[in-house]
């Protein structure tokens, strides 16, 4: 079965079982998101994709589309709320864009630009987090992790390894690695895993290299994320 609904007045078709997010992606309408990747079960944790559906605030990635639904996505109010969420994400971790290898190809940075966030507003937490470089090919910089759980889902559901997990609650929540030492080098992780290619930010990166794409030619240098789409989909294309 199928039907149609509207996003900001534009009619969008959907198949039964599709979420608002999936239908929007298929119709090339951008709903800002961070923890969603169509290849994995929706998780609904970042709340960035929240829209109003018939007046109720819902996460687009976990809410099914229904016939005749009226969805508001890019209203002033919703965008303001998204900016607030993004500002909180920026101060909770250590996101130093000018020095980050992922700059220009980072989904967090790109969504922030899209939503008109130009400067941080809140006091930075400056959490003390480490870098795990124990693996020969891949590095994890926990400073930049936004706890989207995409690597958790990819490793568990795709790679069948469950290398990653989130432990702790609230502000203590953090990414953990399943290995005797807790380090990536001692885990079953391999650079060819799906989990190595899903991180939307600069937390899981290849080792010994960086800044190889000159400024001006990076993923989001020329066009907005609303046109370009997610980091992960481009990574899949690059890796064939």
């Amino acid at each position: 079965m199928s039907g149609s609904f509207s996003i900001d007045g534009v009619t969008v078709p959907f198949e039964t079982g599709q979420s608002i997010m999936d239908a929007a992606l298929a119709a090339k309408i951008y709903i800002p998101h961070l923890c969603h990747n169509p290849e994995f079960q929706p998780h609904g944790s970042c709340r960035l994709c929240c829209v109003t559906a018939n007046g109720r605030t819902v996460a687009a990635c976990t809410t099914l589309a229904t016939d005749g639904l009226e969805v508001a996505n890019e209203t002033h109010e919703i965008t303001t709320r998204r900016r607030l969420l993004l500002k909180l994400l920026f101060v909770e971790g250590n996101h130093v864009c000018p020095a980050c290898e992922k700059s220009g190809a980072c989904q967090l940075q790109a969504v922030a630009y899209h939503c008109g966030m130009l400067a941080p507003e809140f006091v930075h937490f400056y959490p003390k987090r480490a870098v795990d470089a124990s693996h020969p090919e891949t590095i994890i910089d926990f400073n930049r992790c936004i706890l989207c759980e995409l690597c958790v889902r990819a490793s568990r559901d795709h790679d069948g390894k469950s290398v990653f997990n989130i432990s702790g609650r609230g502000i203590d929540a953090h990414l953990t690695i399943d290995s005797p030492s807790g380090r990536l080098g001692d885990s079953r992780f391999s650079a060819s895993d799906k989990a190595a290619r899903v991180c939307p930010v600069g937390a899981i990166l290849p080792k010994h290299r960086g800044y190889e794409i000159p400024i001006g030619r990076r993923l989001y240098d020329q066009e907005s994320i609303s046109q370009v789409g997610d980091v992960a989909s481009h990574r899949e294309q690059e890796d064939g």
Partner: protein
């Protein structure tokens, strides 16, 4: 001086009984990236017994870098300094080549980095000369402070001010083409660069070059004429005699990007030559003094008492045997003719030497833009990771050393950076003492004395100018302190150059 015995300069640094001395402190008010402060200790007869220039560096970086992956370094260290990020980028780039096990870059990679480096020196020298120093030199140190700044320069010499702006802009464009952005760009990666030039970028830079070379020549003759107009005064002002250190080619040619260390003493003797710059720690020792956060490097051969040396344009033009670009070489010969029997030691000759280098950089950029390698596509080499990398370049202000150690995971465990301003630390102190000893009349804090100290320090183009960028607007407080700490006089110069007590 109030008495007839000349003050012994070398005794001024540490007075024998500082508890009996009064103190004059000159302290800029704004603290952006670092700040300078001059303390003059007076005895009961109002003679200068002690003079110290304090420069507070941003020292958090060694910690900030620890635990970071080595391949991030060239981009990370750009955050060290808002004025010379490109120099830090390139010094760290040379260090991570070694960490990545690469000893020789491809011709394209080395030339792209050199191009960026010459662009940086050109823009830095243009900024310093036109915006910071030429007003001092054109209007005189004691001229009206309201005129002695870049605004006065624009009013009275509009063409000159415009040339300065455009020369700087050209250098910044060279940086932008190589790094993607004027500031906080990327270029150096382990064993190479992330881009070369395409022909449209090359043509874009080439079209302005003849003009830049012409302006470079004009700036050079201006610097030279200004120096020679008051030749004797300028020769003596803040003058000290020190050995000069710089990188140099093996054949003695001027070298700004990669070469061996050379140290030449006042009589022209080569104390060190063709020293692998990665051996710097065997020849340069760093001394810590209780009164300054900044280290005091000295030449190991000469010891802590006599081992002070200078780096930067003055040192480079003095220490090399020739320059491989014709216009700059002609200028070097004229410059060295000033002191046929030895080195040109005048502190104010820094400005002249700086303009020889600006012209040299424009000529080098011209050569590089004619070189097909710049458009090549062989960008990166690879090798086996090594535990230590030491990158040394000649930054606009002088020799810049980045020394890193990493663990087997590739994370930084130790970093030691010696920036140009630190090399010149002792020399700047000595110059300040010279000026203070020459000018203080024992009666009161005069504006002229403050200005002269400022002019002497500025000749070195220390990085404290990061904090005090607007020339003539350098805010200062001068306090005259009794031995018991009581302040008996205070002279304040605010950001508009207005004085109050």
């Amino acid at each position: 001086m109030t008495d007839s015995t000349p003050t012994d300069i070398s005794r001024l640094e540490t007075a024998e009984h500082p508890e009996n001395l009064r103190r004059i402190a000159i302290e800029p008010l704004t603290r952006v990236e670092g700040h300078g402060k001059v303390t003059l200790l007076l005895d009961h007869d109002n003679r200068i017994r002690q003079a110290r220039l304090h420069i507070v560096e941003f020292r958090g970086f060694e910690k900030f870098i620890q635990g970071r992956p080595y391949w991030e370094l060239p981009v990370l260290v750009q955050r060290l300094c808002g004025i010379c990020p490109v120099s830090h980028h390139l010094a760290a780039g040379k260090a991570i080549d070694q960490l990545a096990g690469v000893d020789q870059l491809t011709p394209t990679a080395e030339k792209v980095r050199r191009l960026m480096h010459y662009g940086q020196i050109l823009q830095s020298h243009a900024l310093h000369f036109f915006h910071l120093s030429s007003p001092d030199l054109l209007f005189g140190f004691d001229s009206d402070i309201g005129q002695r700044n870049v605004v006065g320069l624009i009013e009275r010499h509009p063409d000159l001010a415009k040339q300065g702006v455009l020369l700087r802009k050209f250098g910044q464009e060279v940086i932008r083409v190589t790094a993607g952005k004027r500031i906080h760009g990327t270029c150096a990666i382990p064993g190479g660069v992330n881009k070369s030039l395409d022909s449209s970028e090359r043509n874009y830079l080439q079209q302005d070059l003849p003009q830049m070379i012409r302006w470079g020549q004009e700036a050079l003759s201006l610097a030279q004429n200004l120096f020679l107009e008051a030749r004797e005064q300028h020769r003596r002002f803040a003058r000290i005699d020190t050995p000069m250190m710089s990188l140099c080619r093996d054949d003695g040619g001027l070298e700004l990007y990669h070469g061996g260390l050379r140290v030449v003493t006042g009589d022209g003797h080569k104390l060190l030559d063709r020293i692998d710059s990665r051996e710097y720690h065997r020849h340069i020792r760093e001394q810590v003094k209780s009164w300054s956060y900044m280290k005091f490097p000295y030449l190991q051969q000469l010891g802590p008492e006599h081992g002070s040396y200078r780096v930067g344009p003055l040192a480079r033009i003095n220490s090399c045997d020739y320059i491989d670009t014709p216009l700059a070489e002609r200028a070097r010969v004229e410059f060295r003719a000033l002191e046929p029997d030895g080195l040109v030691q005048s502190t104010l000759a820094y400005h002249w030497a700086r303009m020889i280098e600006l012209l040299h950089c424009a000529e080098k950029i011209e050569q590089l833009l004619d070189d097909a390698d710049l458009l090549g596509s062989d960008l990166q080499q690879s090798g086996e990771m090594r535990p230590r990398g030491i990158g040394v370049i000649e930054a606009p202000r002088g020799t810049l050393i980045h020394d890193y150690e990493i663990n087997p995971d590739g994370l930084v465990t130790r970093a030691n950076l010696i920036v140009s301003t630190t090399h010149n630390n002792r020399a700047m102190n000595e110059s300040v003492r010279t000026v203070a000893a020459d000018l203080f009349d024992g009666r009161e804090i005069s504006e002229g004395m403050l200005n002269s100290i400022e002019v002497a320090v500025r000749a070195y183009d220390p990085c404290l100018s990061c904090a005090t960028h607007a020339l003539g607007k350098m805010p200062l407080v001068v306090e005259l302190q009794e031995p018991d700490g009581r302040i008996i006089d205070r002279l304040i110069k605010d950001t508009r150059g207005e004085l109050s007590r």
